[in-house]
């Protein structure tokens, strides 16, 4: 009888502890979904007690979920905005903690038939804001430029606008595509097209080498140039958490993400690992 009782207690305890180990939910940026899923997969394989659920929806959706406390982790491909910090303050009285989790380099694509091999940042600005409308002004054939852009809901769009367009507006005739793959495909099919997106996306179109200004050397986007910061168009990807929840399982997961192992996953997925100085 005592045996039976102790077995029962054991079973109950194990059920309780397994539910207590709990689930971590991550929500946000669509850019980061694949990366976050891979992180979760590898981490769960190593720590069978932990469950991690990952969903996308966009950085804004992630922040909204963080405010409503329906997610533990908000993935974001942009920095949090002042209004969103204010919502967090109202909801849980603290500013969310920001973690930089990896680097992403943005490439500028043109069709493989296009003779143009390199452009400078000022030239890119002029093309994407509509000041330059013909390829012959940047050393190409006499043909009108078709500009492909991303939807303004994308973190990539905001990043490109801030860093390349110096916060000016995209030309109104820029066609907006629902994803980097779509931009790449459109550029591959349009010999006068130009577009931008993650450097991890490869085949189909030519990645341009970028000059910081007209006098500096043209740099190809690759791991070395992005991590060193010599390639001029790169950004951080972020994770935001409620500081009150940043302990125990969560804290060890977040630490693991920024460890050697977590950063190896970053490379596998096609983004760039954090430089040593930022890993803390």
């Amino acid at each position: 009888m005592t045996h039976l009782r102790s077995i029962l207690i054991l079973v109950a305890a194990s059920i309780l502890s397994s539910t207590q180990a709990g689930t971590i939910t991550a929500k946000g940026s669509d850019t980061m979904v694949i990366l976050a899923q891979k992180w979760a997969e590898v981490y769960m394989a190593k720590n069978p007690g932990t469950k991690i659920q990952v969903t996308g929806g966009g950085s804004g959706t992630g922040f909204a979920a963080l405010v409503n406390q329906t997610t533990d982790i908000a993935n974001a491909s942009r920095k949090i905005k002042a209004t969103e910090i204010a919502s967090c303050l109202k909801a849980f009285k603290k500013r969310p903690t920001e973690y930089k989790v990896c680097l992403d380099g943005l490439s500028v694509y043109v069709s493989s038939d296009n003779p143009v091999k390199e452009l400078s940042l000022p030239q890119l600005e002029a093309i994407f804001t509509g000041k330059i409308k013909n390829w012959k002004d940047v050393g190409g054939p006499d043909a009108p430029i078709t500009v492909y852009s991303r939807e303004n809901s994308s973190g990539t769009y905001e990043f490109f606008k801030e860093h390349v367009l110096q916060n000016k507006d995209f030309v109104a005739s820029a066609q907006t595509m629902p994803g980097t793959a779509a931009v790449l495909q459109a550029v591959a099919k349009d010999k006068n097209g130009i577009g931008y997106g993650g450097a991890a996306y490869g085949a189909g179109a030519k990645h341009l080498a970028i000059k910081k200004d007209d006098g500096s050397p043209a740099i190809e986007p690759n791991e070395e140039s992005v991590i060193k910061g010599t390639y001029p168009i790169w950004r951080h990807l972020f994770i935001y958490v409620n500081p009150a929840l940043d302990k125990g399982e969560m804290a060890s997961y977040l630490n693991w993400i920024r460890s050697e192992e977590g950063q190896k996953v970053v490379k596998e997925v096609g983004y760039y690992p954090l430089p040593k100085a930022l890993r803390e």
Binding site: D30, F63, K81, A86, K93, E151, A172, A174
Partner: protein, 378 residues
């Protein structure tokens, strides 16, 4: 209902009947609730109670105690219960954030403009960096520009192309099926055309993005591969079954005696269909077009994928175009919830709802009238 049902005798049937009635009521309730929700989110825009101006008066953090409560509430955008739940430190933090935000405001002559005012939604304005006054939809920008004219034109353009493509085809098919085809042909032709309605719009969109766009560009040789024309044709495929099935209904409901009288007087079948039946059913045809319009302007996936989504003001169908529906679908996920952009998208949603509601209502009313007239009721 002259017949006595006698629910005492068959309580189960009575229950089922009530149950079904309640379910149908819930559909109406749903529509009402959805409209209420969408409308509520958009209300501040309609009444001009939003202010997106980036230059706003700030109050130093150490003045916290000297501000009267109602003013503090308004300044920080808090509700009563929120204010009561926050401690001093959080309030100070919120005030500091407000000042931080004000410091980040761009140095721009338009920074103090409330871009959500109706004047900026509907009329062109010369923004910083532009050569002339233009209609600009650039909601994610230093100065948020919310001019809805390019989107309205985009939606109309794609839908009109779709109607011009779909109505003649659908109407021709309807006349053929209802008046000229033999019973055998009719038996397979009608369901086949109506099967078009079963194609998911995302499949239509994908088809037009990959195949149709390339074929059309090779055929017409225009500059931009994805444009209102391609989107319109794909949209037309979605509209055809709607227009066809309603027009066919209207044509079939013209009494056989009309045709028989015409034939007896020596007209051919074609003459009878074209000169007698079609004019009699013309309100039904209008209704079909109105419903097709409602379907077209509300369609999202096809235009999102095939139109190129550039918000330009241009009436050329070979230019890329951005519709109201695609704008909502593409932008809502990343907006700050409850922010100006979010509300603006709901405002567009409300406009769409009203337009589709009116066109559907018009369609239904016309059909109703037509039925009454043909049955001699007036």
């Amino acid at each position: 209902m002259g017949l006595q049902r006698g629910h005492r005798a068959r309580p189960l049937e009575w229950l089922v009947e009530r149950g079904i009635f309640l379910v149908s009521l819930s559909a109406i309730l749903m529509i009402f609730l959805i409209f209420l929700f969408v409308g509520r989110e958009a209300l501040p825009i309609f009444f001009g109670r939003t202010n997106s101006s980036l230059v706003q008066e700030t109050i130093p953090v150490d003045k916290l105690d000297s501000i009267p409560k109602p003013k503090l509430k308004e300044y920080l955008g808090l509700t009563d219960s929120e204010l009561a739940g926050l401690d001093r430190e959080t309030l100070q933090e919120l005030m500091a954030l407000k000042i931080e935000g004000a410091q980040q405001a761009p140095k721009d002559k338009d920074a103090d403009v409330n871009t959500t005012a109706w004047r900026y939604l509907l009329k062109p304005h010369q923004w910083t960096g532009y050569d002339r006054a233009e209609f600009i939809w650039q909601p994610v920008s230093q100065i948020h520009k919310y001019n809805i004219i390019p989107l309205v034109i985009g939606s109309l353009k794609a839908t009109l192309v779709a109607l011009m493509f779909a109505v003649p085809l659908a109407l021709g098919a309807a006349i053929y099926v209802s008046q000229l085809a033999g019973p055998r042909t009719k038996e397979w032709l009608k369901p086949t055309i109506e099967l078009l309605a079963g194609i998911p719009s995302v499949v239509l969109g994908f088809f037009s993005l990959i195949v149709l766009a390339t074929v059309m560009q090779n055929l017409f040789g225009y500059q931009s591969r994805l444009n209102a024309f391609v989107a319109g044709i794909a949209l037309g495929l979605a509209i055809i079954p709607v227009v066809f099935s309603i027009a066919e209904d209207a044509l079939s409901s013209v009494p056989r005696s009309y045709t028989q009288a015409a034939l007896a007087l020596g007209s051919s079948r074609w003459q009878a269909a074209w000169k007698i039946v079609l004019p009699a059913a013309i309100p039904g045809v209008f209704a079909a077009v109105a419903l097709g319009f409602g379907r077209g302007i509300g369609e999202t996936m096809v235009v999102l994928m095939a139109s190129g989504n550039a918000s330009i003001v241009s009436w050329s169908v070979f230019d890329s175009t951005r519709t109201m529906t695609a704008t909502i679908a593409a932008e809502l996920a990343e907006t700050v919830f409850g922010g100006h952009h979010y509300r603006m998208l709901f405002m567009i949603g409300t406009l769409l709802f009203v337009v589709t509601f009116l066109s559907n209502l018009a369609g239904d009313l016309i059909i109703h009238r037509l039925k009454g007239r043909l049955e001699g009721k007036r």
